[in-house]
């Protein structure tokens, strides 16, 4: 029994080391000068240049980096919040109102889950350039607010977590449907909504293809696009800016996860079990 425990735990530690390796390298490298980046032990510190690197990242190209950081927070935060709210409303409506055509609508939304998002990106680019949304923050935010998978998750969760009796009681008391949704439904669905928010937050944070197509103006770029551009230039001068920038870009996502972690537990499975 103890031997099994030692074996299992050491295996888990080996995998943990693998998962942490790139992040550790990033932390170490962000503190090195560009001369030391590849000439010293990649996994251990050499000199402390973190301050210099930070100020370089922040001032590079007239302070584009902080701008990118704020843009990313706006796109990911705003987009995820919108997606969460819209998906919660739609999923709740699909779960709680037996209107005609409900299954067809749900089927269409489900088919969209399987649709490769990149397929949509070029047409979205063409459509947006026709209606003048291209190269604007709204042009980036609006498509990010549509999450068919979120609707699926919200519907599954509303079926389980929101009892009809409670809604009927509210109706008898004269509450309108919209109010019932916001005061009863949304509150009971909160754990799933946190999951949905995080998923969408990461998905938008991760989405590189869409902003690459839609945003021409450097001032509007999210962090991923900016860092890839810097990485593509690949001069020694920018190399440590990319490394330090990459490290900084992880902080908001990790913070979002750690702070929301206690709100979301096992609900990932809610969708898959059904």
């Amino acid at each position: 029994m103890t031997r099994a425990r030692i074996l299992v735990t050491s295996f888990l530690f080996v995998v943990a080391a693998y998962m942490l390796l790139p992040i550790w390298w990033l932390v170490v490298s962000a503190s090195k000068s560009s001369a030391d980046l590849f000439s010293t032990n990649p996994l251990w510190f050499s000199g402390l240049n973190l301050g210099d690197n930070l100020s370089r990242v922040m001032s590079q190209d007239n302070g584009l980096f902080p701008r990118w950081m704020l843009n990313t927070l706006l796109y990911a935060g705003g987009g995820a919040f919108g997606a969460m709210l819209l998906a919660a409303m739609a999923g709740y409506a699909l779960a709680k109102f037996p209107f005609r055509g409900r299954n067809v609508l749900f089927g269409v939304i489900m088919a969209a889950v399987l649709l490769p998002l990149p397929l949509l990106t070029i047409p979205i680019y063409l459509l947006e350039s026709k209606i003048g949304l291209i190269n604007t923050a709204w042009g980036m935010l609006l498509p990010s607010m549509v999450s068919p998978f979120g609707v699926y998750l919200a519907r599954a969760f509303a079926q389980v977590a929101v009892p009809d009796e409670l809604l009927d009681a509210g109706r008898v008391d004269g509450a309108g449907e919209i109010r019932l949704f916001f005061t009863v439904g949304l509150r009971l669905m909160a754990p799933a909504m946190v999951t949905l928010f995080l998923f969408q937050f990461v998905a938008i944070w991760n989405n590189f293809f869409l902003p690459m197509m839609l945003l021409n103006d450097q001032e509007l770029w999210p962090i991923t696009l900016g860092l890839v551009r810097w990485h593509g230039i690949r001069t020694g001068f920018l190399r440590d800016a990319v490394v330090t920038g990459a490290l900084l870009s992880l902080i908001p996502v990790v913070l979002a996860f750690l702070s929301l972690q206690r709100f979301w537990k096992a609900d990932l499975a809610a969708g898959s079990i059904k």
């Binding site: 990649p42 399987l114 490769p116 499975a269």
Partner: protein, 308 residues
């Protein structure tokens, strides 16, 4: 001050007919909740798909010497034949199939083993491990690719991991690193949802932990395995971020390495939206077809396994 009673008045006077109509038509009650999503869904999902299909059926004809304005003509399935005639698409899909056949089983296998170990009794520090394994998921794909590209630098490890023969597997490592923890968490959540009486009884009967994992836990989490399997298949065919970053670093990754990269190159660099759309549509159909095949296969395996 005078506004409040008025508003209240309006609300009470409206309340009664609305209550009645709600019972008559649930659609009317659902509509205000559904409309915002559906509106955006139509604009940013359905319309683009329609647009892409329409675009894929047209081609732009330029006059012989490139003078004069190009003419847009109906091309029928011409773009689709081009997709298959040009070897680029099949080469890209072939590359991804090879990639998926190796990478997806490794990733999901590792995810399943980790989930089972964390759910089992022998593991310690499970909370810590869960957070650490999930951490890479929070790292944006392109950032992960940039960091790994630095690590693959021969100056760091002393081995060439970006050559013709190795780069596909170096890419597989990035994808595995990013997604194992996510898949593990999906499976782990399903394991936690199994009522423990189910295997406590088996343990009392003297079943070993291996036996319990194999005959009780894995069959119970099969839906999650299928779900992660489908997502992995779709994700593999859409591979874009990792090869795009690596194409900046090594000549072994061409600008048309995956079908999606090719579609982008055709649409943006050559301004051929018709062919670009056709590539994306074929890719979507391949992804849908493979997912369906996988679902069928796992349903068939389940049915076969259920028979004594």
């Amino acid at each position: 001050m005078a506004v409040t009673p008025l508003a209240q008045n309006a609300r009470t006077s409206r309340a009664r007919p609305r209550t009645r109509s709600r019972w008559n038509s649930p659609g009317r009650a659902a509509a205000p909740l559904l409309i915002p999503f559906c509106l955006l869904f139509i604009v940013f999902f359905l319309a683009p798909v329609g647009y892409a299909i329409n675009e894929s059926l047209h081609a732009v004809k330029r006059s012989g010497l490139g003078f004069g304005s190009p003419e847009r003509i109906f091309a029928g399935l011409g773009n689709y034949t081009k997709v298959f005639q040009d070897g680029t698409f099949l080469a890209g899909v072939g590359r991804l199939l090879l990639f998926g056949l190796v990478q997806v089983p490794i990733m999901l296998g590792l995810a399943l083993v980790l989930a089972l170990l964390l759910d089992g009794k022998a593991a310690r520090f499970t909370r810590f491990f869960r957070v650490v394994y999930f951490l890479p998921y929070a790292v944006p794909g392109v950032i992960a690719a940039i960091v790994w590209a630095f690590l693959y630098n021969p100056e760091v490890l002393g081995v060439d991991l970006l050559g013709d023969g190795t780069v596909l597997w170096s890419m597989g490592n990035i994808v595995t690193w990013t997604w194992t923890g996510f898949n593990m968490l999906v499976i782990y959540s399903a394991l936690k949802a199994i009522p423990s009486e189910l295997y406590e009884a088996a343990a009392l009967d003297g079943a070993s932990p291996w036996k319990i994992a194999w005959s009780i836990k894995i069959p119970m989490v099969r839906p999650s395995l299928v779900l992660t399997g489908v997502f992995s298949i779709i994700g593999t065919l859409q591979l874009f971020n990792e090869p795009m970053i690596l194409s900046d670093v090594t000549p072994a990754v061409s600008k048309d390495f995956t079908p999606l990269m090719w579609s982008l190159q055709v649409a943006l660099d050559h301004n051929d939206y018709g062919l670009g759309s056709a590539i994306s549509i074929v890719l979507a159909l391949v992804a849908g077809g493979l997912s369906l095949l996988f679902l069928r296969l796992s349903a068939w395996l389940t049915a076969r396994g259920a028979r004594p």
